[in-house]
Amino acid sequence: MMIGNLERRQLIAAALFTTVAAVLPAALGDFYLTVLSLVFLSAFVGIAWNLMMGFAGQLSLGHALYFGVGAYAVAILSERYGISPWLAMIPAAILPALLGLAIGALGFRFTVRGVYFALLTIAFAEFARIVFEHWSFVGKTGGLFLKALTPANQPLLSLRGGATFFYYALLLTMLAAWAVSALLIRSHVGYAWRAIREDEDASRALGVKVLRMKLLAVAISAAFTGIAGAWFALMNGSLFPDSVLGMQMSINLIIAPIVGGLGTLFGPIIGALIIVPINEVSRNLAQSFSINGLNLLVYGLLLMVVIKVAPQGCWPWIARHLRLSSAGWTRGPKA
């Protein structure tokens, strides 16, 4: 296979990134490792959301539904029924995928498009949050708590451990998701998605199985997001309907890929690298000056500045300057 100059640069960049990420724990303390784990988690969800919105062009503002269901699935199965978290990851991916298929099938069948589809996804997520808040099986508003870790804890069995364990686990998960999405984008599925994104009616006329392709995008995206939710539950140790299923979660999940650059493979990772630290710094700022709300003010203003300066996201700009892109490779969806 011929490897062009551009692809060689991309490979070098990817290898560099992976190497630096692999050796970082030797140099950093637990706090920074935890922040970076959150970066990887956010990038992972971003990649998942980006598959659906960035490539297939379907705007979902209710991804918290999949995230929350994944989180609750792994927490309930492993805590209450003693099932290995490794096994619990399967329903944590499949349940959200089924929900996504159901919502997608309803929405797409009835030709709910654009902003209406986005609001439909919000409606289902909020509906689920309220149901969870009143459902005693999932602990109502009191939420669920995982047991404290014992010294005999085996991270590879319980999938819970210290900062270094989560750092590597989430790094690997993110890289795996990135690889899957890179393969998907280059397959005929990826081309079909982009065709639908650019013009749904035209691609249907050309013989693209629009409904099936859109459902596939939703299902894959939801399954990844469910796994991310499962990791969140394992890492956090506690979950509440409002924290994992709420509108705020849906918003947090999608800001990183948009800021990073929609419809690009690296955008979600870059976005997470920018957004998560901003969030952490502004929160620490508010805490150290003990000014309530300062973090939200700083974060909100920064979001406005970033989107004003780089409405296409940051990755296309970075890629141009590092000469890591050709035209087309980084192009996001049109209006």
């Binding site: 439909l120 309220i130 508003t141 939200l296 974060y299």
Partner: protein
Amino acid sequence: MTQLYISVVVNGLMIGAIYALVAVGLNIIFGVMRVVNFAHGEMVVIGMYIGYALWKYAGLPPAAAVPVAMVTMFAAGYIFQRLLGNDFVDKPQHVQFVLYIGLALAITGLNAMIFGPDPRGIEAAASFAVYTIGPVRIDASRLHAALAALMLIAALWAWLRFSLTGKAMHAAAENIVGGRAIGLRIPHLFALTSGIGMACAGTAGALIAPLYDTTPYLAGEFTLTAFIIVIIGGLASLPGALLGGLLIGVSEAIAALFIDPSAKSLLSYGLLILVLLLRPNGLMAAGRGPR
């Protein structure tokens, strides 16, 4: 028992009228510019804080806050649109989303910095007055707020329909290029739209300030409620927003009674899902799909 149901429905209709005013604001912004104002609930909360601050620090009655909130929020909306919003009108939805979410978070943060996270409420003398009509007792301050909201909606409807500027806004909503061609000042019209939309939300906030305690974090719920109403009622349809507002007000009141007060919006989301699936353009759609 019937008495209970009647008063629940009447209460729902009254809060529904206020919701309708909030939704009308969202609907005008959406209808003219095709922009979803994700910071709409924040505008309601600012209106509530204006009411609280004027009562607390200037000793003014809650009614005096209504015109103040209206003018302030109109000016804020107009300036925001001229400075920032107009650049985003023709951007993709997700880009607009980040701008308005940023605005929403910044306002929530600012509110928390100024007023703190604790609930702030007005203790007005009128709070306990009631009208008694037959077997039904109606809270006076609630009724006044609802009537004021209905009058404002009617006035706005008339202005949009009969004034030259209102017609120009309709024209801009129909066809921007055509509007430009006949010499409409689109940036000014968009700023007016944004000002009016945010003024609706702010005014509604000032109207309910005597009824509810305010916290910075109420905003998200107002935004979502307004979305539900706009979609149920129909895009770019003012009577639709009114109908949707009343419907949601009643459905919340009923769900609070029969299920749980904290589950009051469960029924609304159910209604929204039904309407989206069966009549995606809303109950009283203006007959126009997404642009």
